[in-house]
Amino acid sequence: MEQLNQWLATLLEGNVIFTPQTLGYYWTGLVTTAQLVFVSLLIGLILAVPLAILRGSKHRWIKLPVYFYTYVFRGTPLLVQLYIIYYGVVFVDGIQESFLWPVLKEAFYPALIAFTLNTAAYTTEIFHGAIKATSRGEIEAARAYGMSPGLTMRRIILPSAFRRALPAYGNEVIFMLHASAIASVVTLMDITGAARFVYARYYAPFEAFIFAALIYLCLTFMILYLFRYLEKRLLAHLKPLSGN
């Protein structure tokens, strides 16, 4: 660690903006962004699978509430949702005394809740579309084998739906990473928050934001690579035979 610091100090010598302090802010920002995006995507994904199944239910009273939820969260800006969850909850009477307050007090959790609910809504719709697109033949074949609807869902519909949803879901992950840039409006020091800090401190918009943009580009590149790999593995059977 000592050596790393020394190496950094010599590397940054004479640089006014990118001091070890500001790089430290960018590093904290990267960690915050990664945590926020990863955790919200994970929980969002777990919520989205059952919601997508319910969304396709034949019963109106199961289908409609889920539809309402995805409609509201896809129909309003994420920034507005974040403001409502962060600043809005404090106006609920007695919230400061409730057991929820230690969680809602930090800026991190309200942001996490907003991001999770938002990505869960989009992912639900992506999965719902993929489930609906399952060919009738596969379902009829499953029924002919005597599979129950539950077993059909588990063995036939969901595995192929996940595969179909993969490219669209990859986009959702990248959108979520970029959408997380608004976290700094509720005081979170994410990558954009660090850039805003450096910008305000040194009046250097280009340096501050281009550096942040480069970090986002690297993250996006990693996500793209991961999904390209997954698609290659999971969608191998869809590739043209003569293809390379």
């Binding site: 600043y87 404090v90 400061q96 007090k105 800026a107 409006v185 005081t187 928050g193 805003r196 800090f197 910008y199 305000a200 401190r201």
Partner: protein, 254 residues
């Protein structure tokens, strides 16, 4: 050739004539209103504020009459140079950029910053020990942000807000332990708040200069050195005889 010489001599004479400093017995001040509590109008429409009261007291001390002329901020220095008024007393921070075009008096105030916390909070005089582990609110990119980041960035959590209103909201929501603000802003938003009771913690802070600047000065046209000197002397007198403190307390004490 002769004619040209006469004309240029005449020109020099005119230039010399106007360059001669006037002896003022009436001073017109340019001011950008409102900027509470430095300059603003009372509900009755009367112009008042720290700048106005101090300016009037200074004029009285010098023995001149004075007049206040309202001027938008972006045209305030051109207005001075084009003789719409003779001086600017409008919360103008002294800096080198402005020094190139105008002549500043001695600084008459450095607007103080202060720590604000809820009335019931048990926080001592702010120091690295007292603020250890606290969440401090500041406005992003302000001199208060720079000061807090450099002094307490290692021991405390710093929450940065785009506007003072967002910060006050989070203070009322109990998300922040303490905030560091321009005193006048904190006074009007926190001390006069109906939601919760707040107090000032510790002293008002105006030092060190590298963070809080040189303070506000009265700006004159560069050739009015004599006038600036008269104001500097008057300012020193008012600071000595207590008039200055009396006005200061009226605007910058709780």
């Amino acid at each position: 050739m002769k004619k040209l010489l006469t004309v240029s001599l005449l020109g020099v004479a005119i230039a010399a004539g106007t360059a001669q400093a006037r002896d003022y017995d009436h001073v017109r001040f340019g001011v950008d209103v409102p900027y509470e509590p430095m300059e603003y109008r009372t509900p009755e429409g009367e112009l008042t504020g720290f700048d106005i009261e101090l300016g009037n007291a200074l004029c009285e001390e010098i023995g001149v009459t004075c007049e206040w002329i309202e001027q938008e901020w972006d045209g305030i220095i051109p207005g001075l140079l084009s003789r719409k008024y003779d001086a600017i007393m409008s919360s103008m921070t002294i800096n080198d950029e402005r020094r190139a075009t105008v002549l500043f008096s001695d600084p008459y105030i450095t607007p103080p910053s202060a720590w604000f916390a809820p009335e019931e909070a048990d926080i001592g005089e702010p120091s690295t020990e007292a603020l250890d582990g606290m969440t401090i609110g500041v406005q992003r990119g302000t001199l208060q942000d720079n000061y807090v980041t450099d002094h307490y960035g290692d021991v405390a959590d710093i929450s940065r807000y785009s506007t003072a209103d967002d910060m006050v909201l989070d203070m009322e929501a109990e998300r922040l332990d303490i905030v560091f603000l321009d005193f006048p802003v904190g006074k009007s938003t926190l001390l006069e708040s109906d939601e919760r009771a707040y107090k000032v913690v510790g002293e008002m802070i105006t030092e060190p200069k590298e963070y809080f600047g040189d303070g506000f000065g009265i700006a004159f046209r560069p050739r009015d050195e004599a006038l600036a000197e008269r104001f500097n002397e008057a300012l020193a007198t008012l600071k000595e005889d207590g008039t200055y403190d009396e006005i200061y307390q009226r605007y910058f004490e709780e």
